[in-house]
């Protein structure tokens, strides 16, 4: 018989030692990594890597492993420059006392921004190591060769480990050391197996949800089931603490309208959260899903012209072939498969918070503000959770755990329940898109206009809003939350173009944030159908029509690769319409997310009696410049294609006038095995181009391809997704 406490005493791998916290109060003196609050100085090579006596190296990376494999790919970059083997390198978890601040792990930035930093730091270290070896071996630098961290000259060899062996370099990171040319790459550009997977399949991998510390309590938040309007938050009318009196050790903790429960036993905390009687203000604050698009379109908006070239309206008016579509795209949820979790130990003068943030330094700053602690007294450590696909509830849960820990005076582990995560997410905002486009008789697109309506992202998390009364506020605009040319016609060579963003004030809507490939599926669904329709009006094959209208080689490259992968044969869309019950169609689409190049082909099947649509095969092509690990990128493309199918066919946040009602996998269904398409990922490798993102860059293209495949199969354009049976049957009936 072994009980939990015995494990804790024994200090198994799960149990995080809290002696780390003492380091928060560390005094100046000899530098011990982790002893003082970061970020460490990015201008020092020691910040980025350490060479150990056993001839291995630790690379300190500021990007989070989110399941996309970047912790392997960034080590490949370091191994390449250091001339070491992958087996000689390791990295450490993100920690605001240890790892450099490279900004957040979003916008598919780890390789784009992080790759060059790691590469140049490793090159700088290598140069220093070669200088040391040159002295030691009494041989000129030019004559040295390195393999697996062993430097050899005619007269002998020396290992990196012998040269520095765990001692700091004390070397300024100038960025001037020469880096290798792509022609000599041995590790970069190869599909090295991921280093996190062995522990992930065996069960040894420590996810955030597994972390436990001695003396901790289990917490749960208590909120209305499903959020109302962001600006309204949630208001407690009455709370009856005696309602959980029968649950051993359960306590109610409250600050303002922030309510939680804690208990030593997790099941008791779960029961208490469910059983606690709270009367919430249930005044209607929302439009309801039904009235949402109308309200957005009618809102008094802040408008911004994103692109204005020539005179689009006149060009469209004068052209022989024109199209105008008004499309609608719903709120969609991040819905990580395991709800977010955090563990916080907050004392009067310090805090240690473990969570699954995409940005440890950003989260540290917010937590310091909420806890009214100096930033350097807050330490944030990253533990991977379940895939997040953007700003799910990881910050909210970290704040809530911290608030509960302070109120309880003990460490608190808090995992959201399924309905918390689904119901209080920062959803990918809903979108209304209006596109007008026209082509001349030669098949050239002459004019294009896109108007898009959506609100911005939420800048205050629910926990802070409810506990401290901090007013809800939206982010200042950035390109990822606005109409942008990369998915709205920008890949085509169009002389007259006008793109306008209409910012809908967001406080009367749901919370919003970046959801993998933010807004791009919505843009592409709208825009790529318009482009496709111009081809149809001209009786041209949609692939050929796009080719005629693209000048950029890299856009052409992905388009051609997608057509080739799918064995595309030329014919106009909807030229094979069938009267049978089950019909099939194929479509092509383009688009990306702010960087890189994406193209996709979809083959789908529609049951006209039931309205059910299934993707049979999706082909996705990404050109992301230099691809460090093509295996990872193929895996990412496959995941993006399946997730896009899920978002196009199933996913839709629903809400009444008072609250969100899609709170679990029954009310917010996602794609399952039985409907899963075959996927063909294609990586366009460009060894001499700068790396750009690859984790979200083909979803837009796939969304457009699916919409166009629907038209090819039925001759009907869908103006709203997801393509649920009800919506499909209604559209087919309209014809």
């Amino acid at each position: 018989m072994t009980l939990r406490r015995d494990f804790l005493k024994a200090g198994g791998s799960l149990v995080v030692g809290f002696q780390l916290r003492d380091a928060l109060l560390g005094q100046p003196g000899p530098v011990v990594r982790g002893a003082v609050a970061g970020p460490p100085d990015p201008k020092q090579v020691d910040t980025w890597l350490a060479i150990h006596a056993d001839n291995t190296a630790t690379v300190y990376i500021g990007f989070a492993e989110l399941g996309q494999g970047n912790s392997t790919a960034l080590l490949q970059v370091a191994a390449e420059e250091l001339d070491m083997d992958m087996s000689q390198l390791k990295t450490v978890r993100l920690d605001t006392n240890i790892t450099p601040n490279q900004g957040g792990t979003y916008s598919s930035a780890s390789i784009q921004r992080g790759g060059p930093q790691v590469r140049t730091a490793a090159a700088e270290a290598r140069q220093a190591l070669l200088q040391m070896a040159s002295k030691k071996l009494d041989a000129p630098i030019d004559g040295l060769t390195v393999s697996k961290g062993v430097v050899s000259a005619a007269g002998g060899s020396v290992r990196y480990g012998e040269l520095v062996g765990d001692k700091p370099f004390h070397l300024a990171f100038t960025g001037s050391a020469p880096v290798k040319s792509s022609a000599s790459f041995k590790i970069v550009g190869t599909p090295v197996p991921r280093n996190d997977l062995p522990d992930k399949v065996s069960g040894k991998y420590v996810y955030m949800q597994h972390v436990r510390v001695p003396g901790m309590l289990h917490g749960r938040v208590v909120r209305p089931r499903g959020q109302g309007a962001y600006g309204a938050g949630a208001k407690v009318i009455a709370l009856d603490e005696t309602s959980i009196g029968n649950i051993p050790g359960a306590r109610v903790l409250r600050r303002g309208d922030f309510v939680g429960v804690v208990a030593e036993n997790e099941w008791n905390a779960v029961r208490a959260a469910r059983q606690l009687k709270v009367t919430w203000d249930s005044s209607p604050t929302l439009t309801g899903s039904d009235g949402m698009y109308q309200a957005m379109r009618a809102a008094k908006t802040d408008d911004r012209i994103v692109v204005e070239r020539g005179n689009a309206a006149d060009a469209i008016g004068a052209a022989p072939h024109k199209v105008a579509y008004n499309c609608r795209a719903p709120y969609q949820a991040h819905a990580p498969f395991g709800p977010n979790c955090a563990l916080a130990d907050v004392t009067a003068d310090s805090a240690l918070v473990m969570c699954s943030t995409q940005d440890v330094y950003g989260t540290r700053g917010t937590l310091a503000r909420i806890l009214e602690l100096p930033v350097d007294k807050v330490r944030v450590q990253y533990y991977e959770g379940s895939g997040t696909y953007g700003h799910s509830c990881y910050d909210d849960v970290a704040q809530a755990a911290s608030l509960l820990s302070r109120l309880a005076g003990k460490p608190v582990r808090l995992q959201f329940m399924r309905w918390d995560e689904h119901g209080w997410d920062n959803y990918g905002p809903a979108h209304v898109g209006e596109v007008r486009a026209a082509a001349n008789a030669d098949g050239k697109i002459v004019g294009y206009e896109y108007d898009g309506w959506q609100h911005h992202w939420s800048n205050v998390e629910t926990s802070e809003q409810l506990a401290l009364g901090k007013p809800a506020a939206e982010w200042q605009p950035n390109p990822a939350m606005q109409v942008n040319p990369l998915c709205c016609g920008g890949m085509y060579d169009i002389p007259h173009m006008r793109l306008v963003n209409h910012h809908v004030p967001g406080l009367g809507y749901l919370k919003g944030a970046w959801l993998r490939s933010p807004l791009d599926l919505s843009f592409s669904f709208t825009s790529e159908q318009a482009i496709d329709q111009l081809a149809f009006l001209l009786k041209l094959d949609p692939y050929e029509f796009r080719r005629r209208n693209i000048k950029n080689d890299r856009w052409l490259g992905v388009l051609d690769a997608a057509a080739k992968a799918a064995n595309w044969t030329a014919r106009p869309a909807a030229s094979n319409l069938s009267k049978s019950k089950t019909v099939t169609g194929r479509g092509i689409g383009m688009g990306t997310h702010l960087a890189s190049y994406g193209a996709a082909v979809a083959e789908i099947e529609i049951d006209k009696d039931t309205g059910k649509v299934v993707a049979k095969h999706l082909y996705g092509v990404v050109d992301a410049g230099l691809v460090v690990n093509p295996g990872n990128v193929e895996s990412q493309i496959g995941g993006q294609l399946v997730q896009t199918a899920s978002r196009m066919f199933h996913e839709e946040v629903t809400f009444t006038k008072t609250n969100v009602t899609s709170l679990d996998w029954a009310s917010y269904p996602i794609l399952r095995f039985e409907e899963c398409p075959q996927v063909t990922p294609v990586v366009v490798q460009r060894l001499n181009e700068r790396s750009t993102g690859a984790g979200e860059e083909v979803m837009a293209a796939a969304a457009g391809a699916i919409a166009n495949a629907f038209f090819d199969a039925t001759g009907v354009r869908m103006m709203e997704f997801p393509l649920t049976p009800k919506r499909v049957l209604a559209a087919l009936a309209r014809g």
């Binding site: 494990f7 198994g12 992930k200 997790e266 099941w267 395991g338 895996s635 899920s646 399952r672």
Partner: protein, 169 residues
């Protein structure tokens, strides 16, 4: 109220102190500190918490701990031993063939759902050593993957099926 319960997990007997209605998941995670079964929905909708109970895939988030008394519970961690017993192998392999196949296919992304995926696929191959692709899809349909790795999981199950048919006791 908490009472002493005897349960058998991964071929070992444990005495745990828990209210009989406590879902098995919380006992496995918090008392035995097992990392395989993990919370996903608490509603038996996703498969994150799956374990084998007498060889049958079971959602531990909705199964009271009292219901598994006298039965044999196998978690992700216990699958290699369970497999060795099924196949009467002289040695316990480091990984169940399904785990190995998931690695070989580099199927995993975040990996949080892989507990359930591996447990369910192991149950499937025990019952049906050579499933068709359609049978794999049907058997696995109650397990969700948010990263969209279904295609590689299907390939991995097929790979494991081939590998297992070559194993001799």
């Amino acid at each position: 109220m908490a009472s002493e319960l005897k349960i058998r997990v991964n071929e070992r007997s444990w005495t745990v102190s828990a209210a009989p209605d406590t879902p098995l998941l919380y006992v496995l995670a918090n008392e035995l500190l097992l990392q395989g079964p993990r919370f996903g929905c608490g509603l038996a909708q996703c498969g994150s918490c799956s374990v084998l109970v007498n060889g049958v895939e079971t959602r531990s988030c909705v199964t009271p701990v009292s219901a598994v008394q006298g039965k044999s519970v196998t978690t992700l961690e216990g699958l290699p031993t369970w497999y060795a017993a099924q196949k009467k192998l002289a040695q316990i392999p480091e990984l169940h063939p399904v785990q190995q196949a998931m690695l070989d296919e580099q199927a995993v992304q975040c990996g949080y759902c892989y507990n359930g995926m591996i447990v369910k696929a192991s149950e499937l191959l025990e019952k049906n050593p050579h499933p068709s692709e359609a049978q794999i899809r049907t058997a696995m349909n109650g397990h969700l993957c948010r990263c969209g790795t279904y295609p590689r999981i299907i390939q991995a199950v097929q790979r494991a099926s081939r590998a297992m048919s070559e194993v001799k006791a």
